[in-house]
């Protein structure tokens, strides 16, 4: 069974630890060798899914990095400024243990959707924008993400939000956005139930219901 730290490691791999938690917990979490191994495994699972595994696998990369760090002379330097961006911290980690794979994973996904011309999906959250204005916003967004490609780590968070943002206009609504999502959930559940189950995908439609919260959460963050 999964333990609480496994869950947080998974959140770390997914880039989902929230900002406050992130600063303290990464160090704490990865201080234990078991946790470091779990962290390595989760990345491996992600890489496997992305079929991005190198031919020769190093299953214990993290412990070799830690050993190398232990052998490094201690450098006495002023602590980093307290207010560093999430992206910078990810970049820091990347140097330590190649977490860039995750960052690229997020960005690649966005380009795939780009290739599929899901422009409305890429549009800025737009309250009352016309469809034309929305697709213009989408184009601007895509150009921006092109620029960001060279700074993958720094733009990771923004990019994932772009992917999951919806461009929904609420007509005469004063209710919070999560009520809207609760309603969409009901449509999703009903659709999965009433539509004949996609024969080839088995229980995957249910996996989508179970999996939805994370993108949902990002979506709400993006709209704040």
């Amino acid at each position: 069974m999964i333990n609480p730290s496994d869950e947080r490691i998974s959140a770390l791999v997914d880039g989902e630890l929230d900002e406050r938690e992130h600063q303290v917990s990464v160090d704490k979490l990865l201080a234990h060798s078991e946790n470091r191994k779990a962290w390595g495994r989760y990345h491996l699972i992600g890489d496997t899914l992305k079929r991005s595994l190198p031919k020769g696998m190093d299953h214990d990369f993290s412990s070799r990095v830690m050993a190398a760090l232990d052998n490094e002379p201690t450098v006495l330097a002023p602590p980093a400024p307290a207010k560093s961006s999430w992206g910078q911290r990810v970049a820091g980690l990347a140097v330590a243990a190649s977490v860039t794979a995750v960052a690229i994973l997020g960005v690649q996904f966005m380009y795939q959707q780009d290739g599929q011309t899901l422009t409305p999906q890429m549009a800025q959250t737009s309250m009352g924008l016309s469809p034309t204005a929305q697709s213009q916003a989408a184009r601007v967004n895509l150009q921006q993400s092109g620029v960001q490609q060279s700074r993958v780590q720094q733009s990771l968070r923004a990019n994932i939000q772009t992917v999951t943002q919806s461009s929904v206009t609420m007509a005469h609504s004063s209710k919070p956005v999560n009520q809207f999502h609760s309603r969409l959930n009901k449509y999703l559940v009903d659709h999965n139930q009433q539509a004949p189950r996609a024969a080839v995908q088995g229980m995957i439609p249910y996996a989508r219901i179970v999996a939805y919260p994370n993108s949902h959460r990002l979506l709400i963050q993006a709209q704040k």
């Binding site: 998974s10 899901l118 992917v163 206009t169 024969a199 995957i204 996996a207 179970v210 999996a211």
Partner: protein, 333 residues
């Protein structure tokens, strides 16, 4: 009389058999066999395992339990990361626990049994499917420690997604499934990291973790959904290529007091739901696209109705559909 009757009866069968054998080539038949075996396996094999799910660049893992025997089909999925959303299924009854919104949704499938399962893929329907998808039997690959046969189902246009399936060579269980766009790029992946095929599933593995205490329960009586309707105030013209209206219902949405009409479109693999609900003063309307992973939803307001289109199809398909909806009240079909 009888000599006249028999040829008339047999002729279509003969033509059908001739067409069938000439169109379903040997290679296609092999692919169809793998898919049919997979469908049968889901009805009589017990297993549990960890499913890894990749969507929107996020990896999540889920516990999956599947039991199928004479007493029925049971499934349980629970997310092991973040919010412990959980789905428990007993035959046509599905209960979804959503701790994030403190809601429980209870619903019953209108399609009893496994109407879709074998009939959709078998025979003539397979030829229909091949108009929209190309089926290829690919190489073997090892997944979750087991040998799996890869099957590619490639969409012939951008109105639907494709699939790459990894089907267990011995037990025909679906071990891995990718959802693909027209370019063959993966949009969503689900894969068993480990799986145990067992004779018996202990009852406790199927019990939901959540009690749903303090949650809002949404439940619809099974008989509140009337079967197919023939008359409708709505028309959809044109339908997206390859899709047909597979059913139309009139029912109440979960958590809604307004009766709604519900159409289901299908191309044999992908399904799209369209909900027509009369707008009321206390109900919020919405317009625009809202992606939920690979599922896209599109809202539009037409003739005082909220129309919601949702399906596991690309965004352009739901958007195109939204603009094809025509209010045709009083018009005889």
């Amino acid at each position: 009389m009888s000599s006249f009757f028999f040829p008339r009866l047999l002729l279509p069968t003969f033509i059908f058999a001739t067409c069938f054998s000439s169109v379903v080539q040997a290679a296609d038949q092999a692919t169809l066999d793998v898919l049919l075996r997979m469908q049968t396996a889901s009805q009589n094999i017990n297993y549990h395992g960890t499913l890894v799910f990749l969507q929107n660049g996020q990896v999540q893992s889920m516990r999956v339990v599947h039991k199928a025997d004479k007493t029925g089909r049971f499934e349980r999925l629970i997310n092991l990361n973040g919010v412990a959303r959980e789905v428990v299924r007993k035959d046509d009854l599905v209960i979804c626990y959503m701790p994030d919104s403190k809601e429980v949704m209870v619903s019953r499938q209108k399609f009893k049994g496994n109407v879709n399962v074998l009939t959709q893929l078998a025979g003539n329907d397979f030829i229909e499917l091949q108009k929209n998808y190309e089926f290829t039997l690919e190489s073997m690959e090892r997944i979750a420690g087991r040998e799996a046969q890869r099957v590619l189902i490639h969409p012939k246009d951008n109105l639907r997604y494709g699939y790459r399936l990894w089907v267990d060579d011995e037990k025909s269980i679906l071990l891995k499934s990718d959802l693909l766009n027209e370019q063959g790029e993966s949009l969503e992946q689900a894969m068993f990291a480990d799986i145990a095929i067992v004779d018996h599933i202990p009852e406790n593995l199927l019990q939901p973790t959540s009690t749903g205490d303090g949650f809002t329960w949404y439940e619809r009586e099974s008989d509140s959904s009337k079967p197919m309707i023939l008359d409708s105030d709505w028309k959809i013209e044109p339908l997206p290529k390859g899709f047909t209206v597979s059913s139309r219902f009139r029912h109440q949405m979960l958590g809604s007091s307004v009766p709604s009409e519900h159409w289901v479109l299908s191309d044999g693999l992908a399904n799209i739901s369209i909900y027509f609900e009369k707008l009321t003063d206390d109900q919020d309307a919405f317009e625009g696209i809202s992606p939920m992973g690979v599922v896209n939803a599109f809202g539009i307001i037409n003739a005082g109705h909220q129309i919601t289109i949702i399906g596991e199809v690309p965004a352009n398909t739901v958007e195109q559909l939204a603009h094809s909806v025509i209010f045709a009240s009083g018009v005889e079909e």
